[in-house]
């Protein structure tokens, strides 16, 4: 009984961690995607680029995010035919660049504060 209860606790704690991790990543992914689109990318090439920099992102997260950013005017896109298939290329817009500069500053300030807070907690 006790073993079963520990298993259930582990499972529920792992579910909570997964959910919170999603929340934690949300803002960070937005910055990562915007920053990488100073070069033109289509969906898969962007995922590969992020993966090569240590950040994995699945299609179910990437495409809705890209669509939202495009709707907000932070990205532009263009369809082109490549080999046998159509590809949609994305690039950061002028507005996106300005937003990225501001958000990057805020991210760094936030990061510094959080590091300080977590550092204090660890002591």
């Amino acid at each position: 009984m006790k073993i079963q209860s520990n298993i259930n606790e582990d499972r529920s704690s792992s579910e909570i961690v997964d959910k919170l991790n999603l929340e934690l990543r949300r803002g960070a992914l937005l910055l990562a995607v915007l920053s990488q689109l100073n070069e033109e990318h289509y969906g898969y090439s962007l995922r590969k680029r992020l993966h090569s920099k240590g950040l994995d992102i699945d299609e179910g997260t990437l495409y809705p995010l890209i669509r939202r950013l495009e709707k907000q005017g932070l990205l532009t896109s263009e369809w082109r035919s490549d080999e046998k298939r159509k590809k949609r290329y994305y690039r950061i817009s002028g507005l996106g660049e300005s937003v990225l500069i501001v958000l990057t500053k805020r991210w760094r300030a936030l990061n510094e504060s959080i590091d300080g807070i977590l550092g204090e907690e660890e002591k």
């Binding site: 289509y42 969906g43 898969y44 090439s45 995922r47 699945d58 299609e59 179910g60 997260t61 495409y63 809705p64 669509r67 939202r68 369809w79 298939r85 159509k86 590809k87 949609r88």
Partner: protein, 322 residues
């Protein structure tokens, strides 16, 4: 790439027709690129194996791709306004119908029938009210409107809770149960006690003697109490308005219970009866009246404590007032 194409088609089939072409092109390209990459590492990899190992059920994949604000019927910014409007609309509708039911039945020859027939129209009207409210909010959502009415909020708009005393959920639930049982009994959906037993004989043909207007008033009070208990279950703290409503309702209850207790005879057994049951009826009447007086005393006590709270919000009657 036939299987990959079929998978991509299946995924986009869950999306609105207008979005399908572009979405298909994008995810089909994505899947093909990924497959080609994996084939470089394992040339024997089949499309089926690739899909099994890397992709979820098409509907699950489609759901993930649809997590976009335009997919909401009523999105997060309107959701609570929608619920709040729905609650207000439903309460107003039920209240208006209750008043109509009471007024119409008082002016009708067949009072109960009129009362029921008006009340039975409530569910249908509630559906219409719900549909209209939903339609308005969906139109606001799809029209890209912002919930600007929430921007003009001021702290002074907050309803002040007197003495910050929390409403007891269990008490509200108890009242809800009691009122529901009372209403169901009045409209003959449930019956208790079914029989009166005396002298090894059981009498099912007994009745409570009350004027028609009294039954209608009881039904109206029970319906009001059901709504009020539900309202209290959704609120955290007592407010002046809630206390005043409780006091007014309690006074109505005390008046009607008092009136019933003053009736010369409450219970009557019809049909052929034995001598024992004839002797028992006055005792049953007395017991019923004593029970009513006890109930009235409890309601009086509740009313007095509510009035004391109203007059002196920081009054503490032994319970925590936090």
């Amino acid at each position: 790439m036939n299987l990959l194409k079929a998978y991509a088609h299946q995924v986009v089939s869950y999306h609105p027709p207008a979005d399908r072409d572009e979405l298909f092109a994008e995810i089909y390209d994505e899947i093909c690129e990924e497959y080609t990459d994996q084939r470089k590492k394992n040339s024997a990899l089949s499309e089926a194996d690739f899909l099994d190992a890397n992709k979820q059920h098409p509907m699950k994949y489609a759901t993930q791709l649809a997590t976009d604000s335009s997919s909401y019927l009523v999105g997060p910014q309107f959701y609570f306004s929608f619920l709040s409007t729905l609650k207000t609309g439903a309460s107003l509708t039920a209240g208006i119908y209750l008043v109509i039911a009471v007024v119409a039945s008082l002016g009708s020859a067949n009072q109960w029938r009129t009362f029921y027939s008006v009340l039975f129209e409530i569910p249908g009207t509630l559906l219409w009210v719900g549909a209209v409210i939903l339609g308005i909010f969906v139109a606001l959502e799809k029209g890209g409107e912002k919930a600007t009415w929430l921007d003009n909020w001021k702290a002074s708009d907050l309803k002040v809770a007197d003495s910050h005393q929390s409403i007891s959920r269990s008490e509200a639930f108890f009242d809800l149960g009691l009122s529901t049982i009372g209403l169901l009994w009045i409209i003959d959906i449930i019956q208790f006690p079914i029989v009166i037993g005396a002298d090894h004989a059981w009498y099912g043909n007994w009745m409570v003697l009350l004027p028609d207007w009294c039954w209608i008033a009881l039904a109206a009070l029970f319906i009001f109490d059901i709504g009020f208990s539900l309202l209290r279950m959704t609120r955290n703290l007592w407010t002046t308005r809630l206390r005043l409503t409780t006091v007014v309702t309690n006074i109505l209850w005390i008046s009607i219970i008092g009136f019933i207790a003053l009736q010369p005879q409450l219970l009557e057994v019809t049909g052929p009866v034995t001598e024992t049951i004839t002797d028992l009826i006055p005792a049953l009447n007395r017991a019923l009246k004593i029970s009513l007086v006890v109930v009235a005393a409890i309601v009086v006590w509740d009313t007095v404590s509510q009035i004391r709270r109203l007059l002196n919000p920081i009054f503490v009657d032994g319970s925590s007032d936090k």
